[in-house]
């Protein structure tokens, strides 16, 4: 029941908003739909806390400790982003940047995007997961090009082609996985792609085929994670699309993609019994961290700056999953959660800051604290949180990852530390004048919704100081699952 509501609400909403998304009340409907989805996710979570794992729809959908918190997180950020987009999109329309047709498209695709991500997270069928990931790309392509500027079209084209080709590699990986599974599970049709079934027989899967499959799956889904050197689409798509979309791309889609990679890694590692998948994850992760922190220095556009920061953090998460072990996996899951909350909060403040100054160039944004203290402080606190300052949650996860790295992969620790320091200097040096400099900014026509920003930051602060016991239990259970136990 909760499941039907969770997946059905955004799907039905997408259709409804496709017809009536330009109405004056459409942003409120969008919020309402996201709220229902979030409530359904909470009900589902409550059921999991009470009864444990859930398997529904002829085993096609499931909830286990690894995806339960991601589902709730996705629904929650979906809700807060819809709250943020309500005044944001109204201001964009008042500025004459969007027509009512474009608004209709935006609202409809927003709900569709939420639906595809929730399907990708909850499906037990690796083939369906692929379909949902591809659908998530497609539903956002037209949102990236929403403003129809040359730069937006270029970003959309890059996004479409790079992610399309990437995801085609992932399809080949899925086919290979199916080929190996069929040998063990028999050609019983649908069952051979069900993750729960595969997980039981993973030790019998043919290693040579699975290692090849993993290369394709990692390259494919890794493109969507934004792992270097496949990250080219990410900064463009984040910078050119409307800001609510940057927030959900960065905060949610990247998480879903990394979730897909890790699901596959569990199977492949179980079959291979070697460290090949781990080493590949560590390599890609480290490369992303290093490259992103270097590119951070060259950015002049504020949204591109934080897009590169997302690549850096995805690199950290990937590296941590690559190291493996209960602590590193735990830290990686925590880092996914806090990064998603913090980064979307930052994009909310950035969106309004850009609307105030009328430009995404950081040199044009000055003195946010004097004209609008809440936006200014929101951006400052968000940046400090994402840079790993205590007592925010990012500090806790990065600390755990670094200490584990010191024990397990001592060679990588200095590289990670140096990159983090470089990123800190780059971002802090940019944010500081934007928040505190001199300004003659003007007021916004609609009062910005800043509740989501502070709700997110409060959650991140809480996760830095105290993790609720059931959440910690899920993290631990998921970490064991990822460790192959």
């Amino acid at each position: 029941m909760e499941f039907l509501l969770l997946l059905g609400t955004p799907l039905a909403g997408a259709i409804w908003l496709g017809f009536f998304g330009a109405k004056r009340r459409a942003p409120d409907v969008n919020v309402g739909l996201s709220l229902i989805t979030f409530i359904a996710a909470c009900a589902l979570t409550a059921r999991v806390i009470e009864h444990g794992d859930v398997l529904v729809g002829r085993e096609q959908f499931f909830i286990d400790p690894f995806n339960v918190f991601l589902v709730t997180l996705t629904a929650f950020v979906g809700l807060t982003t819809s709250l943020f987009s309500r005044p944001y999109m109204r201001i964009e329309r008042d500025h004459g940047k969007l027509s009512s047709r474009q608004l209709k498209l935006y609202h409809s695709m927003y709900q569709l995007f939420m639906a595809t991500m929730l399907i990708a997270l909850t499906t037990n069928n690796l083939g369906l997961m692929w379909v949902a990931m591809e659908a998530a790309t497609l539903s956002t392509v037209l949102l990236v090009t929403l403003y129809r500027t040359p730069a937006a079209l270029e970003a959309g084209w890059k996004y479409f082609i790079l992610c399309g080709v990437g995801i085609a590699q992932a399809l080949f990986g899925t086919i290979l996985l199916y080929f190996a599974a069929e040998k063990v599970l028999g050609n019983s049709g649908v069952d051979a792609l069900l993750w729960t079934h595969l997980n039981q027989v993973k030790a019998q899967l043919e290693p040579s085929v699975l290692s090849l499959a993993f290369v394709f799956l990692l390259v494919g889904y890794g493109t969507k994670v934004g792992l270097a050197p496949l990250h080219n689409w990410l900064p463009d798509a984040h910078a050119e699309g409307p800001t609510p979309i940057s927030a959900v791309l960065s905060g949610l889609l990247l998480n879903v993609a990394i979730y897909a990679v890790v699901r596959c890694k569990i199977l492949v590692e179980g079959s291979l019994g070697s460290t090949l998948p781990s080493n590949m994850l560590m390599g890609f992760g480290l490369l992303s961290v290093v490259l992103a922190s270097l590119f951070l220095w060259r950015q002049r556009d504020i949204k591109r700056l934080f897009a590169y920061s997302s690549i850096e953090h995805m690199g950290i998460v990937t590296f941590a999953f690559g190291m493996g072990g209960p602590v590193a996996n735990f830290a990686a899951l925590l880092h996914m959660t806090v990064h998603s909350l913090t980064k979307s909060a930052i994009f909310f403040t950035v969106g309004h800051a850009v609307q105030k100054s009328g430009s995404q160039q950081m040199d044009d944004i000055r003195g946010l604290v004097t004209t609008n203290p809440t936006i200014g402080w929101g951006l400052m606190l968000g940046s400090l949180a994402i840079l790993g300052m205590p007592p925010f949650g990012v500090f806790a996860s990065e600390f755990l990852i670094l200490t584990t790295a010191m024990q397990q992969q001592p060679w990588a620790t200095p590289i990670l530390l140096l990159s983090l320091a470089v990123a800190f200097a780059a971002i802090f040096g940019r944010v500081q004048p934007m928040v505190f400099g001199e300004t003659q900014g003007k007021r916004l026509p609609h009062p910005p919704a800043l509740l989501p920003v502070f709700a997110h930051l409060a959650l991140v602060l809480m996760l830095g100081l105290y993790i609720p016991p059931y959440l910690a239990e899920w993290y631990r259970a998921a970490a064991r699952l990822i460790g192959g136990e």
């Binding site: 096609q60 069928n125 083939g127 369906l128 692929w130 379909v131 591809e134 659908a135 497609l138 392509v141 037209l142 090009t145 129809r148 500027t149 040359p150 730069a151 079209l153 270029e154 970003a155 959309g156 084209w157 890059k158 479409f160 082609i161 399309g164 080709v165 085609a168 399809l171 080949f172 899925t174 086919i175 290979l176 199916y178 080929f179 069929e182 040998k183 050609n187 049709g189 649908v190 051979a192 792609l193 043919e206 040579s208 085929v209 090849l212 463009d236 590119f295 060259r298 950015q299 002049r300 556009d301």
Partner: protein, 222 residues
Amino acid sequence: MNTIPLDLQIVNALAALLLLLSFSMLSQRRIVSLVNLLAMQGLLLTVATLMVAWRTGETHLYLSGLLTFALKVLFLPWLLHRLIRRLEVYWDTEPLLNIPGTMLVGVLIVVFAFGLAQPIAELASETTRNSIGIAVAVILLSFLMMITRSKAMSQVVGFLSMENGLFFGAMSTTRGMPMVVELGIALDILVAMLVLGVFFFQIREQFDSLDLHHLESLKEGD
């Protein structure tokens, strides 16, 4: 010497034709012909699917074959032809690498693809071994085409040809994916093409051309 059953010989022959078509795509600069070649690829895929369906007697493969026919032989080529007429893009410019050069690289890619497919081929039944190598080769050749072409339309044909290679791979290794997945994939491709149609008009409205050289202003660090 064992004789191979006739239907499998046909599948192998189709595989060879598929590879041939990929090479002719690499050398073709007329966009209308590219789309026709793509439709022929789709037709070969349909016949191969129906052959396998007939041999294994699985009903979902017949459906999948019909779906392939409707989508890849009829609908997509029709859509692309319509776009070509409406947008008036008939020729691709000289590719980044000249055509003989591209063909040579293509030959090397085929050798590489067969090497890559070796571990899978060893596990597959004797008769489909060559098809797996060919499927990988078609995927990589389409990739090469996407890299070397500069018109958006040729890149899309390359993308669809890659999808064909993937389907052929799925067919020859596993006799097709489960029905739910295949339906999902077909839906995704369909939507992708519709999105693309909208997208092309947006690009042309903005730049008055479909040449991707206009789409190169976003550089790292800007």
